[in-house]
C-alpha cells in the first residue's frame, strides 16, 4: 500500500493536485531550476532537454524555461481539444508546469558536477569520461527525462479525461510537436535578443 502511494506521489500526483495549485508548485520548481541551473551551467533548452552551457545568464535561463512551458502547455491544450470534450485550461497549465519538476534534480546534481573545459571537450570528447560526476549527470538525465514524460502523460490523462490508444498516440505526437515548437521558438527568440 505504501509503495502504491509513493508511486502515485512520484508519477501521478495529479489525482490530488491540479489546476492553480499544481501551477503554483510547478512555478517554484521552475524558479529553482532557473536559478540553480544558471549557476550550475545547465540550461533547459526544450520541452524534454537539458544541456551544459558555460556562461549562461539568469535571463537566458528563464527565457528558455518560459518557452518550454508555453510550448508544452499550448500544444497539450490543442491536443486535448482534439481528443477530449470539456476540460479546463488551468489543469493543463498546472499539470504540465509541475511535470517539469524532475529536471530540478539535474540542476542540483549539475551544481556539484565538475564541468570540463568545452575547448578541451571539442578537442577530445572522451575527456568527459574523466569527470565521474559529469558521467553521473549524463546517466541521470535519461531516467529524469522519462520521469518527466511519465508525469506529462498522467497530467494530460487526468486533465483531459481521455484514455486508450487515442490518448497515447495523441500524447506522443504532442510531445514531439511541443519539442519542435520549443526548439524553433528558442532559435528565433534568442536570435533577436
Amino acid at each position: 500500500m505504501k509503495s502504491k502511494n509513493l508511486s502515485e506521489f512520484l508519477f501521478n500526483p495529479f489525482t490530488r493536485i491540479a489546476g492553480w495549485q499544481a501551477f503554483g508548485i510547478g512555478l517554484i520548481f521552475i524558479a529553482l531550476m532557473g536559478v540553480i541551473g544558471t549557476y550550475a551551467n545547465i540550461i533547459f533548452d526544450g520541452v524534454i532537454d537539458m544541456h551544459i552551457e558555460h556562461e549562461t545568464t539568469l535571463t537566458h535561463s528563464f527565457i528558455l524555461l518560459a518557452i518550454d512551458i508555453i510550448s508544452l502547455v499550448f500544444v497539450m491544450f490543442v491536443a486535448g481539444l482534439f481528443i477530449a470534450g470539456k476540460f479546463r485550461f488551468v489543469d493543463i497549465l498546472g499539470t504540465m508546469t509541475l511535470s517539469k519538476a524532475p529536471f530540478l534534480l539535474l540542476a542540483i546534481v549539475g551544481f556539484f558536477t565538475k564541468m570540463p573545459d568545452m575547448s578541451d571537450v571539442l578537442k577530445d570528447p572522451f575527456i568527459m569520461l574523466s569527470s565521474p560526476s559529469l558521467v553521473f549527470l549524463l546517466l541521470l538525465s535519461l531516467p529524469v527525462i522519462l520521469w518527466s514524460i511519465a508525469l506529462m502523460y498522467n497530467g494530460f490523462k487526468v486533465s483531459t479525461g481521455a484514455k486508450g490508444t487515442k490518448l497515447t498516440i495523441t500524447f506522443i505526437t504532442a510531445v514531439f510537436v511541443a519539442e519542435i515548437i520549443s526548439k524553433v521558438l528558442i532559435h528565433f527568440i534568442l536570435k533577436r535578443l
Binding site: 491540479a18 487526468v158 479525461g161
Partner: protein, 87 residues
C-alpha cells in the same frame, strides 16, 4: 448492497416481489431496477455525495482530497455507465 446481476449468468436482475413489513402484503410482478441501483456501491456513494454537495465538483474534490479533474473524470465514468445501462 442490492444484488443487481445474476450470480449464475451475470444478466441484469429484475424485481419480482416487494413486501410491506407492516401488513405483510406482497406485491409481485417483474419490475426493472432503478438505473442508479445498477451502479456499483462506490459509484452510488459518489452520486449521493455529489447531490449532498449541491452538485459542486470543487467541494467534492476538497472533501475527497482529490483534484478537480480527477473528480470530474469519476463523474464522467458514472455518466457513461448510466448511459450504457439506459441503452
Amino acid at each position: 448492497m442490492l444484488p443487481t446481476y445474476c450470480p449464475g449468468c451475470h444478466a441484469q436482475l429484475k424485481v419480482k416481489c416487494m413486501k410491506c413489513e407492516s401488513c405483510q402484503t406482497e406485491v409481485t410482478g417483474l419490475y426493472d431496477l432503478p438505473v442508479l441501483a445498477l451502479l456499483p456501491e462506490v459509484d452510488q456513494q459518489f452520486v449521493l455525495r455529489f447531490v449532498k454537495n449541491s452538485g459542486s465538483l470543487k467541494e467534492m474534490a476538497s472533501k475527497l482530497k482529490l483534484s478537480y479533474p480527477t473528480v470530474r473524470n469519476m463523474l464522467n465514468e458514472i455518466i457513461s455507465k448510466l448511459n450504457s445501462y439506459e441503452k
